[in-house]
Symmetry: C2
Subunit: 453 residues, 2 copies
């Protein structure tokens, strides 16, 4: 390996590292390989990294998507040895050591796969159309459109049954995302939007959080689960635990609690339940025969490489790994970041012919969930925190974790403003509205329509 | 008219004002009728007002859409007598005094039409698909996708001709929007993105500004036009005046200068040329026989009402009006705001049976255009300003003009950050990227593809 990129150009070809996926894992791998002498290419479908832990705030209007997304090439602009490319990869050829993508192929000496997970509808893919999940920027904008569009339509209609359906919000899944979404919608209805409507009272909105387990936040400490439920109920959220979703369609959801089936009519159903490994897991098993777990994740060796393939690493949510202390590494942003840093360090040691690092171990910093303003729960290993202190800690930790100074400033300003005014930033319902031209063409020469409800 | 909305509920039905269109004109009418005793309904296709003068900054990544858009109902939350509804209106029935909209109808006693203008492609509607305009939030996001997507694709490709086409940007129309767009793209290529790519040099981008008149900014003073051209050229923009666009398609544009026809291959063509009145102008002429001008605008009486229909007002870009001083009122935000205020004042005087206001006159505050950071031109009637001072004045005026405190703070923070770091805020290419699943289905069982350029 050589020192500067200029020098390298005239010498032997540099070792090529191709990273597929520019989320937390991929981006941090690239960042830590900056100025390493490796020739690094970061390939992603999108030209930006998303700070997914705050995506629910975009879906519920507290932040705008530009606050929490940043082009990878901006983050890596000083890393002259790193090239960012926007293209969808769909296969590899391990014989020739190339990644196949939509515009052609890319040769690697070392491959890092960090393509993450996507939503999983328990095999009921037809539910997807009615219950958007929350993994991408487009998902968040779609959720925002559904949530605020429902309030708009409710203000418009004169039909009381339709109004009730529009003001019923069902969130499926009581993990952190579901809890945070339910809390944020409850806060919108009970606090933020109270003065904004004339024909409806936003406080009439029903927010239902449906969870199959006996408690929300199953991964948290008992005391925190109780606090979370209490915070949710204070924001008018009805928490329905030990409850399964049996069906989702345009009318709403069917739930089962014990032997009782209930149909809930709701125009907005949001999915915060299962995830499944992205398709690149399948690519790896088809091309290399590596085993996947039940969720489609790739089982990796203790150093994050594929067993028998020391030139291929899998990190982040796509990897299934039991760490050096025998604990399952969770699918969380800090784990992906730590794995990215670990793989970069491993490669740098290999380049310098140093002995390999010890197996990866996950440094658990705890987990938090926020439930409206001033209310959060935090499981920080030794301490359990709740309430206002937890909220401030959560806000501090998340602002600090944002990768770029401009994002930190923007999010800080936005939260500070919300704190002072109780108003949120971006409640836009975007997407093409009904066109005047179409309505004119359809209805102009017919008699005035009977008013729709 | 009565004093409080509570009292009104039990008394005679209040006079109903329906405002169609929630842009500058409609929103300011509603704002100035707040607490007036009128029962006001503001109807818009979208749930937000857009600060259009800064829309080009969203298209070029300096601001994010949430910075310059705000729900009308948030602006009007304290106006208990104003109801905001999100619905597309498409017709009126002047006999029954109702507005027809997508969900039914709405009765009015007084109607204010403020539906603005849309893009006009000189009768060549087929150009629209290749050359997006800049009137709506979706347009700005589409332009942003085209501009930043072209740089991404250019970084990807190995085909030098395709790369040149991708790095050629044609802006049609040399008015303020065209000048500002061209300046912003020039600044991105020459300053903001210089360190961001590895395979291309962003400074190789060609930005062409095509204007039919002999000079850009035809409405500005001669000295300012020269300054604007100079500022544009400093950012690498090629200014092509006295040049007509003959054709636009997926390959680029055909232009005519004198008798010379030239084909310019460009993957990004942006439309900043003609506008035409929105379809509501046609509704008014069909239902009431009022005359339209060549651009489809509605000729109004000196008090902004329709001649012969004192209960119907047309304001903003849709109105064609010669003001009390004999000058044509221009299609600019300040004119729409002043007309909204004027119509609200007229209605309040009618309610109190006071004598009518004098005819509307437009208070011309001048106009400005910004060309990259630190460079602007301003035509402030008595003074003509250029350069850095003009830029600071422009920034101050625009921040002050934003309707909401949170927007002012956000835009200020964003500009301040850009000023310090030369980096812009939101360069996201959103919209569904190519799906891995589709690529896999198409190509998995076929031999590895020959690389596309």
């Amino acid at each position: 390996m050589v020192s500067s990129s200029q020098a390298a150009a005239t010498e032997a070809p540099r070792h090529r590292v191709v990273i597929v996926g520019g989320g937390f894992g991929g981006l941090h791998t690239a960042k830590h390989l900056s100025k390493s002498g490796y020739d690094v290419t970061l390939l992603d479908k999108r030209n930006f990294q998303l700070f997914q832990p705050l995506l629910y705030q975009v879906a519920t209007g507290a932040l705008t998507i530009g606050d929490i997304a940043i082009p990878q090439r901006v983050v890596l602009r000083k890393a002259a040895n790193v090239t960012c490319l926007t293209a969808t990869a769909y296969d590899i050829d391990p014989e020739r050591r190339v990644v196949l993508h939509e515009y052609g192929e890319l040769a690697y000496d070392t491959l890092v796969v960090a393509t993450g997970v996507k939503h999983h509808y328990f095999g009921k893919d037809e539910w997807r159309a009615f219950a958007p999940g929350l993994k991408t920027a487009e998902h968040a904008i779609e959720m925002r459109r559904k949530i605020f569009g429902a309030f708009e339509r409710a203000e418009m209609t004169d039909d009381p049954q339709l109004r009730d359906e529009l003001l019923t919000f069902v969130i499926v899944g009581g993990g952190p995302t579901g809890v945070e979404l339910a809390g944020a919608i409850g806060e919108l209805a009970q606090k933020v939007m109270v003065r904004d409507f004339r024909r409806i009272d936003s406080r009439d909105a029903r927010v239902l959080l449906v969870e199959g387990a006996p408690q929300v936040l199953p991964a948290f400490d008992e005391k925190l689960r109780v606090a979370a439920r209490h915070h949710l109920e204070a924001l008018g959220v009805k928490v329905m635990t030990s409850t399964m979703v049996e069906n989702v369609d345009a009318e709403g959801v069917r739930i089962r609690s014990g032997d009782t089936l209930t149909d809930i009519r709701a125009r907005t159903v949001l999915w915060a339940a299962g995830v499944r490994a992205s398709l690149f897991g399948q690519v790896l098993t088809e091309r290399l025969g590596v085993p996947l777990d039940r969720g489609g994740r790739v089982r990796v060796a203790p150093d994050c490489s594929l067993p028998g393939h020391p030139d291929i690493f899998v990190i982040g949510d796509l990897a299934r790994l039991t760490d050096a202390r025998g604990r399952e590494v969770p699918g969380l942003a800090p784990a992906a970041i730590q794995q990215g840093r670990y793989v970069a360090a491993t490669l740098k040691r290999r380049a310098n012919k140093k002995v390999a690092l010890k197996p990866f171990y996950y440094r658990d910093l705890g987990s938090m969930a926020v439930i409206g303003m001033n209310r959060a729960v935090g499981d920080l290993r030794a301490f359990k925190v709740t309430g206002t202190f937890a909220w401030f800690l959560w806000a501090f930790v998340h602002i600090r974790a944002l990768i770029d100074g401009s994002q930190r400033l923007r999010v800080f300003v936005q939260w500070f403003w919300k704190y002072l005014t109780r108003r949120v930033g971006d409640r836009l319902v975007t997407g093409a509205p009904t066109s005047t031209k179409t309505l004119r063409a359809e209805r102009l020469d017919s008699p005035p329509p009977t008013p729709k409800p």
